[in-house]
Subunit: 348 residues, 2 copies
């Protein structure tokens, strides 16, 4: 089995940071409500809400993140032998966005995969590439994750009429992408992937989050009232209470599992990458886990929750901080049907 | 490295076969035009066009195919250690359909993956499971593929006004799902996966097929004309000519690659599973490949093109026919951004 290392990490956040004051201006969501309820301070959107134009596709965000990861890894795109991408919000159903990104990067004649997943996707993508590299099938993989919200934001809605559970979506989420180059080349120093876990445990449990299509095609859309049409386009639903209750427990279970499987003790861990839902919720998880704040790599309060992009943004910060011999544990939880994922890393 | 075998295959086609006469009745597509242009005789739809109700979700189709595969493999759902599913047309963006299927099968606490892909998806899913099993990470995997068309069929359209390139979609595609159980257990007889190839080669090439979202949310939908609204819902486009030109070439390249990599000669191959686009096109591919008709496993003329489901339906037919020592080669081509995939099999 080959040792798999992170050779470079990149990320891209579109446009300027959107503050909570901006959010009040754009969505009529009260600034103090976001501060109190969510605790996220800024996020980034691929949509420019001033002119109501979509300025970046997911392909754009992923291309930019990938280019940075490739540059940081000191390789060329031609060295990549495998691409795995993950997203909840692809640009099309077909072609898969990963193939549009490959085209932009001028990559050809290699296998490409795209995982459909929520917040667990980044670690799922990393696991697939890790397993392929570990068994010696390939030596260099590009792994990408990203999400864009414009699939469920109707810029023309009357945001004053939204209910709390809908407002939460707008306040929680943002757009962004991240990428990493993994290598199975011998002899290179770097952050080695020690293990990855990916565990569905949604049996018999209601989804905590549902993101629909913008319809299957509504029957008789031309005869539908505006109110009914809105229902078709009201596509993202959160059970925030279920998420608030379950995610800390699942995060703790995953950390304990990683420690146990690796035979690592909690006080040996130098860095933790906790689930990134929203500013306050992530703070609560860290409290619940009883982790020293200095060991925590958080970014959601400033990036917003950009789903499949976030773990890469954490990894990018982690790389700057890790010293030889340092150990780190990262966790991502998907509440859409309850998946817990974890990664353990060691600087060699 | 472990030897990976197909332990069981299942499939499910919804409702009754829809004949070309039915198609003329439902879509106002002339029966003789379908016969002459497409050559597909029947297909199955998850939508009941008589009462305009969607009678099966993708989850439903995949559950039924998976149950058959599990039964044929003489195992229980509890024995499955990994699920990989592929589709172009998931029921939701989140939760991923694979997790709803896992829930139906009463499977919990295992990793699940969902690949977003067109016709190459089944072989991509098989490759991921194959690599995981081959390296000994897991011993038993369930691999599922399926598609449903109702994401791009507007049952209320005036089908007499459709253009040729739109009519082709309705005439070509159908709904269905397939599944297989793969095992890395020693000592079992069965069809072993000898190799799998998956190669993106879309660099600089226009997509042959685009399947959009039903919008990003259209701006000002309430002010849009019916005609403009229709554009939003006209979501599937084919470049049939590019597909007709490229797919036979790509299929030949993949078969040659598999033969060459395996050091197999063409006359050693007992069965071929060619790409399944439509009745006539698949016949033309077989002619171009100069394969003896008796060696060919085709089903598309009777199932319609159900995308990620089709290769499993071919595999199911293959299993019935293969004798000890027989060799088979299967190919699937994705025209959405030009991916060629292939599998080689041997009965041990």
């Amino acid at each position: 089995m080959y040792n798999v290392k992170i050779a470079g990490v990149g990320s891209f956040l579109p446009g300027r940071p959107i503050t909570n004051r901006d959010m009040e201006h754009i969505f009529k969501i009260r600034e103090d409500w976001i501060e109190d309820s969510i605790g996220t301070k800024t996020r980034y959107f691929a949509t420019n809400f001033e002119n109501k134009k979509i300025e970046y596709t997911l392909t754009d965000l992923c291309e930019k993140a990938a280019l940075e990861a490739i540059e940081k890894a000191s390789i060329g795109a031609k060295d990549i032998e495998l691409i795995v991408m993950s997203t909840a919000t692809p640009d099309h159903l077909m072609p898969a966005t990963v193939n549009l990104v490959a085209d932009r990067l001028e990559i050809n004649n290699i296998p490409t995969y795209q995982i459909q997943a929520g917040c667990s996707g980044a670690l799922q993508g990393l696991e697939i590439a890790y397993r392929f590299l570990r068994s010696g099938v390939y030596r260099t993989a590009l792994v990408i994750g990203g999400d864009v919200c414009n699939k469920y934001i109707d810029v023309d809605r009357d945001f004053t009429k939204l209910r709390g559970y809908e407002l939460i979506n707008y306040a929680l989420f943002g757009d962004g992408a991240g990428a990493t180059v993994l290598t199975a080349e011998d002899g290179k120093q770097g952050i080695a992937i020690h293990s990855i876990q990916n565990c569905f445990e949604g049996l018999g449990r209601e989804p905590g989050q549902v993101m629909n299509w913008f319809g299957t095609v509504p029957e008789k859309i031309d005869e539908m009232s505006m109110r009914d049409r809105r229902k078709v386009f009201q596509s993202a639903k959160e059970d925030y209470k279920a998420i608030e209750k379950n995610v800390p427990l699942m995060a703790k279970e995953m950390i304990d599992k990683l420690l146990n499987d690796n035979n690592w003790k909690a006080d040996e861990i130098d860095f933790y990458l906790p689930p990134q839902l929203g500013g306050h919720m992530t703070d609560k998880i860290v409290q619940y886990l009883e982790i020293d704040d200095k060991k925590v790599i958080n970014c959601v309060a400033y990036t917003g929750n950009n789903g499949n992009g976030l773990p890469y943004i954490q990894l990018k910060q982690l790389i700057e901080k890790m010293n030889l011999g340092d150990k780190a544990i990262g966790v991502a939880i998907e509440s859409s049907k309850w998946i817990k994922t974890g990664i353990s890393l060691i600087r060699e």
